[in-house]
Structure formats: structure tokens, C-alpha cells
């Protein structure tokens, strides 16, 4: 919901979707920038990210250092609801010959699961600049870093078999307090992302392949393309493993925050995260080692090398979002925060993946050395609401409990295992223990869990089935006030 989350999420989405129709959406996005209590109305060093305007209220230099250990449990059981060919058949247009229909390829498939583990460090620092009223802040944080591995032969392999994702954000900020009732801050964020992923590319889903089949000289009516019906999908010959590796992406954007503390017990915050785009550039490797592609149709102009390597790139838009909140201390012991957010995920209509290699070119059948893969996403804007109850259990111990809800970005039509998204419940329980007057230790546990999601409306039966997503992050931070 916050920019960091957006960036992190988008990096993940982009990376996973690089070859595939995968988009992680919010799947692995845990609001783990700073502590669980960090937010647009929480004055800590992580406000550099959450609301730079709020840092203007800082009266002393503060350092926040720590991280999260992320453990994920992602599960998917695909349910095929359409009619499929036998995988060793090769009808490329409907109707399928009766003999070629696979009677066993229907209903639930074997479930698959992945359990990513990652360490997500972060460090923030804010400091007033003399008596200027300005507060400088900076942050370095890694919202996500983990390996996601599914069964290479699982029913989900058309979406994803493996992904490695890591991002690092660097963000300086500056804030100024005009008045106790109004402070403004802004930050510039640079995101460096690294992604690798693997999946089985269904060539039946590629517009280029359908076009080459349909054009002279082959001139074959075919149903191949991004909207290929299930009946012509998932054929062994057309199932080409692909890996995107060494893909690096970066982006820069900014956020602007307003903060207000009209009364000592009330804080208000509003942050705008700007949109931008992010480009990943890397290499791809495509396994074409099948006689169909390497020699059987050579005289027809179709002959690939057994392995095609080349450059890959992906540019995706990063959505803008607005996060606002209020914090109120009912007493010196009890307080509450309310944060709401709106993220414009609808800007992500599709991922545009491009691969380029001279070895891709098949000039006799009109295939160039580049291939464009449009991965329909059609994401929806999302809303999020989180409420936090704060409780000072002792002089040196403050605790909190957060409960929240986030709507799903991925619609049923385009969801797949690479973006196991859904309406999500969020819970966070944490404690801050003051070891000394200046040093606090923050321990917390976060749980994000999507409501059980049974999808039946996936386009072309690509992602029907039951999704499970549980993310647990154990956080440990130290806050030090100089």
C-alpha cells in the first residue's frame, strides 16, 4: 500500500511475470518497512518512507535498524474445468479430434506448494538539521528477498516454476514543519531489483506463433495466441521451458507526505506515492530441444537451435497510491491508529515482455528476432484498511495489535499461481521494550493470509483452482535516539 510495498510488490510482479503471465500483485507484499507499527501516522525513522512529512516532528536524531525473517506458505491446487488434448497430440485449432481428447486431464490436479524464506533488512535514520525546522531522513531497506520454487512438473508450471526476487530501496527525504498543525515532507526513492524466474512457456499462447502459422506460406487456421482456448494448450511439443536470469531493474520515484498534530493526542497523515515505470533487463534461455522445432520442419523454415539465448526486458508501470491515517491516544496507556489506502493497480493492464535473440529469427515463416509477450493482468485498484490498538503495558513496554484488510488486485480472470492474490487479512502483534531511555528493542510478528479463494472464472482455464497464501514475518528492530 505504501510506496515501498508498491515497489516491492511490483518488482516481484514484474520479475515473476517476466516470461509468464505471472504477476505477484500483492502476493508476497508484506508491509515490512520498518516495524509493524510504522505507518503514515507513526513517528519513527521509518516515516522516511511512510510519511516523510511526519519526520518533521522529530526532535532528535533517531536510528531504526533491524529486519524481518519472512516465511511463506503458498499453495495452489489447480482445477481444470475445460477440455484438453492429450499432451502428446498436436491439434492447433478447435475442434479437437475425439481421439486426441485427454479424458484424464480434468478436475483437480495434484496440489503444489512453495515455502519461500527470506531475510529483509532495513535501516532508517532521521535527524533535525539544526534549528532550521528541517529534518533530513534516509532509509535503506529490502522489502523482499527469497526464492520461490514449485514443482517443475506441477500443473502450475505454465505460470511459474521458480522465481528469485530481491529488491533494495534507497530513499532520502526532507521535511519541514510549518506549524504543529502542518508539516510537509518529500522523499526520493531509488529501487534496485534483481529477478530470475523460470516457467514453461506455452507456445500456443504466443501471438507470434499463431501469426506465423496463420500467414503464408503455412496458412493454417489456428487458435494459438494469448487467448488460445484450453483445447490447444499444454501440448508437450509447445511446452518450452524458459528461464529469465540475471535480470536487473531499477526505478526512481518520489513520495510526498503531509502531517499534522492538531492536538497532543491526535496525529494525522497523508502520503502520496507517485507512479513511475520500472524496467528489468536480463537474459533469457529458452529450451527448444524438440525435434519439432529443431529439425522436423526445417525445410519449412522452422529450425531453432536446441537452446536459444538472448536478451530479455520488461517494463511495467508502478501504480500511484495514497495512504492516509489517524492516530489518537485515548489515554497515556491506550491509543489507536487507523490507516486507509488506495492503490491504482488498474494501471497494470498487461505486462509487456520482450525477448530478443538472433536465434529466435525464423525469417522464412515470418518470425523476427524479437518476440513480444503480452501478459494480460487487468488488475484492479485496491483498498486497504488497518486498525491498530496500542497499549502501554508497562513503563518500558509498549505493545500493539493490528488487524486489517486488503482487497485483491488480481481478478479471477487473470489470476495464476505467480500472483496468488486475494482478499487479505492482516494481523500484526508487536512489542517495543525500552532497554534504556534511548534504546528500544522491537519484536513483532506479522501474518498475512488471503481468504480461501476458489477461482472458477479464469480465462482459458489457466488459473482455476484453489489458492492459499500465508505469509509470516518475524521482525526484530532496534531504535536508538541520539
Amino acid at each position: 500500500m505504501n510506496l515501498r510495498t508498491i515497489l516491492r510488490t511490483t518488482v516481484a510482479c514484474a520479475a515473476v511475470a517476466l516470461t509468464a503471465d505471472s504477476a505477484r500483485a500483492q502476493a508476497l507484499a508484506v508491509p515490512s518497512v520498518g516495524t509493524g507499527l510504522s505507518g503514515p501516522v507513526t513517528l519513527d525513522a521509518a516515516a522516511v518512507y511512510w510519511n516523510p512529512g511526519l519526520t518533521a516532528y522529530a526532535t532528535e536524531p533517531t536510528l531504526l535498524v533491524g529486519g524481518h525473517l519472512l516465511v511463506g506458505d503458498i499453495g495452489y491446487r489447480r482445477t481444470r474445468r475445460a477440455t484438453y488434448q492429450r499432451p502428446d497430440s498436436l491439434d492447433f485449432a478447435l475442434p479437437i479430434a475425439p481421439e486426441a481428447v485427454d479424458p484424464e486431464k480434468t478436475g483437480p490436479a495434484d496440489p503444489v506448494a512453495a515455502n519461500p524464506v527470506g531475510v529483509l533488512p532495513s535501516a532508517f535514520f532521521i535527524t533535525p538539521i539544526g534549528k532550521t525546522g528541517l529534518v533530513f531522513g534516509t532509509g535503506v531497506y529490502a522489502p523482499y528477498a527469497a526464492i520461490l520454487k514449485f514443482d517443475e512438473n506441477g500443473a502450475q508450471r505454465w505460470a511459474l516454476t521458480q522465481a528469485t526476487i530481491a529488491t533494495v530501496n534507497v530513499q532520502p527525504s526532507i521535511a519541514y514543519k510549518f506549524h504543529e498543525a502542518l508539516a510537509v515532507g518529500a522523499g526520493v526513492s531509488y529501487v534496485l531489483g534483481f529477478a530470475e524466474l523460470a516457467r514453461v512457456q506455452d507456445f500456443a499462447a504466443l501471438a507470434d506463433v499463431g501469426g506465423a502459422l496463420g500467414r503464408p506460406p503455412i496458412n493454417q487456421r489456428n487458435d494459438f495466441g494469448p487467448n488460445a482456448p484450453p483445447g490447444v494448450r499444454e501440448l508437450d511439443v509447445m511446452a518450452r521451458p524458459i528461464r529469465i536470469h540475471d535480470a536487473w531493474g531499477h526505478a526512481a520515484t518520489f513520495n510526498v507526505g503531509l502531517a499534522s498534530q492538531p492536538t497532543p493526542r491526535l496525529k494525522l497523515g497523508l502520503t502520496y506515492f507517485h507512479t513511475t515505470s520500472m524496467t528489468f533487463n536480463g537474459r533469457f534461455s529458452l529450451d527448444m530441444n524438440d525435434d519439432f522445432f529443431t529439425r522436423d520442419l526445417a525445410s519449412q523454415g522452422l529450425q531453432y537451435k536446441p537452446v536459444v539465448n538472448g536478451d530479455a526486458s520488461l517494463s511495467i508501470p508502478l501504480p500511484r497510491s495514497v495512504v492516509g491515517g489517524a492516530s489518537y491516544d485515548f489515554t497515556d496507556v491506550i491509543g489507536a491508529n487507523l490507516v486507509v489506502g488506495y492503490t491504482g493497480w488498474s494501471v497494470v493492464d498487461a505486462f509487456d515482455v520482450r525477448v530478443k535473440s538472433p536465434d529466435l529469427a525464423q525469417p522464412r515463416i515470418g518470425l523476427p528476432d524479437t518476440s513480444r509477450i503480452l501478459l494480460p493482468r487487468r488488475w484492479k485498484d485496491t483498498v486497504a484498511v488497518e486498525g491498530t490498538l496500542r497499549y502501554r503495558a508497562a513503563d518500558r513496554l509498549r505493545t500493539w495489535l493490528t488487524l486489517g484488510y486488503r482487497s485483491a488486485a488480481s481478478p479471477d480472470a487473470t489470476i495464476d499461481v505467480a500472483s496468488p492474490d486475494g482478499d487479505r487479512l492482516v494481523a500484526n502483534l508487536g512489542a517495543n521494550y525500552a532497554l534504556t531511555p534511548k534504546l528500544g528493542l522491537i519484536v513483532e510478528g506479522k501474518l498475512h493470509s488471503i481468504l480461501p479463494r476458489e477461482v472458477v472464472g479464469s480465462e482459458n482455464d489457466l488459473g482455476n483452482g484453489r489458492y492459499r497464501l500465508n505469509l509470516f514475518a518475524l521482525g526484530l528492530h532496534a531504535a536508538y535516539a541520539f
Binding site: 502428446d88 527470506g118 529483509l120 540475471d246 534461455s285 530441444n289
Partner: protein
């Protein structure tokens, strides 16, 4: 390791750096790499006792109206055998429907041509064609005596010669039509490539070799694609059956038959994928062309668009230039002096190869004068008894001079006389003996058929020749690779249940891999083709029984755990079918047993 360490370092450094930043230890371990390419080159030969598993599949890639366009260049790139079978027409040089009296008209035209416009060899021919009794030079011939005799009898030699031949002194010795006929018969019709051509292999003509009408030369699509430039090679020097023919077309032949953008587009319905088989010696997958087995259903002849031809010249194609050459014997050839053999005489010219100009000349003269029987006599003024008398009987002349006045030429056939006269005339201008070849160049000659006929001819010839069609299709859809000894086939569901399912086919001769010229790369040298129940290969279990239209291959149906034996080119192999994992795949254990 030394070679990979630097690249590994480069590849992983950024990731490691990033992982260090995020303290994500698993990151480095998760780095993906490019796929490793498969090993190159063929597998090692299978050793005796060694077993390998080979997975075969029967994947169909059925294409409808698959379109293939052949340009001129594509046609010329077809295997020579395929090119030779793409016959278009026989160009009738004698009397075709659109080019009547083609050759003799051309010869007639040469007679009146400006000698300056002719090559030396063509001028030689012009001199021959224009030779008349009035222009004949009798010196050095057996008629030379007439030069001495004529003043004595008061008759000019040309008159005597004309009277002997029963023509006027200004008439040509040999009419162009007769010369043309002699050329067609002796020079052109004797060339092997003008006597037969390749065509459809049918039950009635299994070799597919057809005679070419005398006076015609066969033209193929490939000839047309070269604008007939290939004719000089096709009808050039050749030795066949130990007999040499120097050829008769020289120089650059050109024609306007096909436009530069000429193309033939065929539409085929086929399984474009090959049969997957096994090269036993290496126990590896090889592909056998599936096209020939589909030749009877590849093209829908009822669809007029199964073949579309574009780029034929409008109207009647024209042969712009073609030059025929007839070589001269290296030595002067005397006419005969004997009436035997009757009707021919004893000239050596008859024993020369028919394509020599001397043979052509004597043949043409014989055709012109073989029926002549006459008597001529010249009597001096005031005398009653003839001073000179000549009797011609069936072309054989005998001259007599009364009173011992001079010596008359020796008896001979008229064509013996003319052979010598013609040879002397050929060497006017002191042309050395043996260098008086003659040439005939035809220009802007309609080739005897129009574009529509050519298109119809291409279509009809291909439709009538399944083999040529199969060859063409095999070229269009060339999907074979490797050198299989047997292949996997799934019988259609049209068969009885017990004959459906998986089969192994032993390759037939037509399945052998081919080189670029369309010839098999190796001989079909299997001692015992087929499949056997025992390792000694004594109990054959395969048959050539009809299955899906095939009666050519030894074949055996296989099920899970079926074991058969087969002999490859170098060894005997045990083949054990493994249980199927999917409908269109079958794995086989291949064991070399000796």
C-alpha cells in the same frame, strides 16, 4: 574450471552483492543459469550386449492447404531426378501446331540472310543451301571431268548437272525441307535425350520412360525456368550405351516462357511431420519422411487451386534464340562409286556417325534424288548419234562419251556426286578440312504452345504422375533426418480393432535418406528386412499386408512387452516395447545381440 571461474564470478557478483545487502543467503543458491545445450553429434555405436531405451512418438501436424511457392530458383534447386520428371511439352521442330515447318522455314530464312550477319558456321550452311548447279564448283570432285568435257560437247557443266538431277540450273540441289528432315532424323533424333524422356511411372510403364516424337525435343519446367539455357547442356555431348553424340545445341539458348516472378504455388494436405524411427546401429531416434506414404492424398485435384501458376509470359511463349550445330568430319569424304549397297552406294559417309554433316548431306541428297530414273543425251549439231549420254536409274548415274572424247565421271549415285560437290562448297574461302561445322540459329520462334496449354500441361502431368508428385512433395515437405532402419506408426482408427494401435515398420527402399540430387545416400542393403520372433531371424513375424494403404513395408503390430528382432546394417537387435505412458508415444529397449 579455469575457464568458467571468471564468468561465474561476473554472473554471480551482482546477485551476491545484492544478497549481501539484503542478507538473503538463499539468493545466491537460487540463481538460474541458461539451459545447457544437448550434446552435439551422433550417439556412439551400440556395443554388442548394450541396451538403450529410445522413445518414439507419433505426433501428427496435419496441415490443410499448406501453401508452398516454388520460384524459378526453387525449381532449379530441386533434385535433378525431380527436375527431369517435371515434363512440360515436346517442342516439335518439324511441324508443330503453332510453328509449322519450324526447322525448314528457318533453313529457308538462312538462304536469304545477309552473310555478314551470320557466323562462319552459319555461312557454311548458307552456302550449302544456296548451292545450285550454276554455282557449284566441280573442281576436286568426281564431276571435275565435266569441266573438261563440256566444251567438247558444247554443253555447260551446270546444264549437265541440272539435267542429271532433273532440276533447273538455278534450283537448289537440296530443298530446305529435305535438309531439315535430314537434320531432324540424323542429328536431333539420334540424341539420347531427344529420344526418350522421364514421365509418370505407371503400371503400364513402370520405368516412366517415354518416347519423344521424332522431330521434337522435350522441354521440362526446369528448362523453362532457365529460359531454356539448360538445353545446351541437356542436348550437348553425351555418351550413352557406349555411343557418343556430340550434341546439337550450342551457344546460349534463350526463351521467353517464364517471367522473372514466375512461381508455382501448390497447396498440400499432409501430416508435415516425419515418422520417428530408430537408427539401430546407434539406438537413436531418426526421422523417416512421411510424405511419400501420403502421395495419394497430398493434393486435392478437385480443387482448382491445388496448383496455381503465376508468371507465365502472356500469349504464346517464344524461343528467342536457339542454335543447332552439326560438326564436320575431319577429312574429306569421297562419294561412292558403286551401286551397292543398292540405294545407298559405297561412300564412307554412310558409315560416319549420323550427326556428321557429311552423313546429313548424303542422306538429304539421297532423299531428294533416290527415285530419279532418266536418260539425257547431248548430240553435236548436225549429228544424230549423241556425243554425251547419261543414264540415271534409281539415282545411279552412268555417263558415256562417244568417240573417246574426254573421260566421263565414274558411275555413282547422284548423292555421291552431290556429297563431294557440297563438301567442296563448304570450304570456300580456304576453310580447312574439319572446320566447316554448320550452324542453324532459330530466332523468335513460337515454341508451339500457348501459356494456357503450358499451365494445363503442368497440372495434368503432375496429376498423372504420382511419383513425380511425391518427389515434389517430398522436396516441399522434406522432413527426414538421420538414417532410420525402422519407424513407429500408429494405425488409423479405420482399421479393425486388432489392427489399430502401434506398429513398427521396417524401412523400404523409398524411405532411404536422400542427397541433394535426390539420390539415396546409401544402398538398400538389408539382407533380411523385417521383424522376427527369434534372434536367429528364422521366424518372420512381419508382413507387407495392407495397412492404411501401405503394402510396401514389412510391419508388425506391437503391444506392451512385445519383443521382436531385426537386422540392421551391421548387427542384429532385440526390440522390446515398453508399457505406454501416453497414447502417441512408445518407448523401446534396443539391445544389440550380435
Amino acid at each position: 574450471m579455469k575457464a568458467t571461474t571468471p564468468s561465474m564470478r561476473v554472473r554471480y557478483l551482482p546477485a551476491l552483492a545484492l544478497s549481501a545487502i539484503v542478507a538473503a543467503a538463499p539468493l545466491g543458491a537460487g540463481c538460474l543459469a541458461a539451459f545447457e545445450p544437448p550434446p552435439e553429434g551422433p550417439a556412439s555405436p551400440l556395443a554388442v550386449g548394450e541396451t538403450r531405451v529410445v522413445e518414439l512418438r507419433s505426433t501428427r501436424f496435419d496441415v490443410l492447404d499448406y501453401e508452398k511457392t516454388l520460384t524459378k530458383a526453387d525449381i532449379l534447386a530441386l533434385p535433378a531426378d525431380v527436375q527431369a520428371r517435371l515434363w512440360l511439352l515436346d517442342l516439335d521442330l518439324s511441324n508443330g501446331p503453332n510453328a509449322p515447318r519450324l526447322l525448314d522455314n528457318a533453313l529457308a530464312a538462312i538462304r536469304t540472310a545477309d552473310p555478314k550477319t551470320l557466323t562462319p558456321a552459319a555461312r557454311n550452311l548458307q552456302r550449302l543451301l544456296n548451292m545450285t548447279p550454276a554455282t557449284a564448283d566441280l573442281r576436286g570432285t568426281n564431276l571435275e571431268e565435266l569441266n573438261a568435257l563440256a566444251p567438247l560437247i558444247g554443253i555447260a557443266p551446270p546444264r549437265v548437272l541440272a539435267d542429271l538431277l532433273a532440276i533447273d540450273v538455278d534450283d537448289e540441289f537440296i530443298a530446305p525441307a529435305l535438309a531439315a528432315e535430314a537434320i531432324l532424323t540424323n542429328v536431333i533424333a539420334t540424341h539420347p535425350n531427344a529420344r526418350t524422356r522421364l514421365g509418370a511411372k505407371t503400371a503400364a510403364n513402370p520405368d516412366g520412360i517415354y518416347p519423344v516424337a521424332r522431330g521434337s525435343i522435350p522441354i521440362t519446367l526446369a528448362d523453362a525456368a532457365t529460359n531454356c539455357a539448360s538445353l545446351s547442356t541437356k542436348f550437348g555431348a553425351v555418351t550413352q550405351g557406349g555411343v557418343f553424340h556430340p550434341g546439337f545445341i550450342v551457344g546460349t539458348t534463350s526463351a521467353r516462357v517464364l517471367e522473372e516472378d514466375f512461381r508455382i504455388t501448390v497447396r498440400a494436405n499432409a501430416n508435415a511431420l516425419p515418422y520417428k524411427g530408430i537408427e539401430l546401429a546407434r539406438a537413436e531416434v531418426a526421422s523417416v519422411s512421411s510424405v511419400r506414404s501420403q502421395s495419394d492424398r497430398l493434393f486435392n485435384f478437385e480443387d482448382p487451386n491445388w496448383l496455381v501458376i503465376d508468371g507465365l509470359v502472356p500469349g504464346v511463349p517464344v524461343l528467342e534464340s536457339i542454335t543447332f550445330r552439326i560438326p564436320e568430319h575431319p577429312e574429306f569424304v569421297r562419294g561412292g562409286r558403286s551401286p551397292m549397297p543398292r540405294g545407298f552406294g559405297s561412300s564412307e559417309a554412310w558409315t560416319l556417325p549420323p550427326w556428321s554433316i557429311e552423313h546429313v548431306l548424303i542422306s538429304a541428297a539421297q532423299s531428294a534424288y533416290r527415285g530419279i530414273s532418266t536418260r539425257i543425251a547431248y548430240t553435236a549439231e548436225g549429228k544424230t548419234d549423241p556425243l554425251f549420254e547419261a543414264v540415271v536409274s534409281d539415282g545411279f548415274q552412268e555417263m558415256n562419251v562417244a568417240g573417246g572424247v574426254g573421260a566421263p565421271p565414274a558411275p555413282s549415285y547422284l548423292w555421291d556426286l552431290l556429297l563431294e560437290v557440297a563438301q567442296v562448297r563448304l570450304h570456300d574461302g580456304q576453310i580447312p578440312e574439319g572446320q566447316a561445322d554448320v550452324e542453324i540459329t532459330l530466332r523468335d520462334v513460337p515454341i508451339g504452345t500457348d501459356t494456357a496449354t503450358i499451365e494445363r500441361s503442368i497440372r495434368e502431368n503432375l496429376e498423372a504422375d504420382p511419383n513425380a508428385l511425391a518427389d515434389l512433395a517430398a522436396t516441399i515437405i522434406d522432413n527426414a533426418s538421420g538414417d532410420a532402419d525402422l519407424y513407429y506408426y500408429r494405425a488409423s482408427r479405420d482399421n479393425a480393432p486388432e489392427r489399430q494401435g502401434d506398429w513398427l515398420f521396417f524401412v523400404a527402399e523409398g524411405d532411404l535418406p536422400r542427397d541433394e540430387a535426390g539420390r539415396p545416400k546409401r544402398p538398400y542393403s538389408y539382407a533380411r528386412p523385417g521383424f522376427f520372433a527369434d534372434a536367429e531371424l528364422t521366424q518372420k513375424v512381419s508382413t507387407k499386408d495392407l495397412l492404411d494403404g501401405d503394402t510396401e513395408h514389412e510391419k508388425v503390430r506391437i503391444d506392451d512387452a512385445t519383443v521382436v528382432y531385426a537386422e540392421g546394417l551391421s548387427g542384429v537387435y532385440r526390440l522390446e516395447a515398453l508399457p505406454k505412458k501416453s497414447l502417441y508415444r512408445r518407448s523401446v529397449f534396443v539391445t544389440r545381440i550380435r
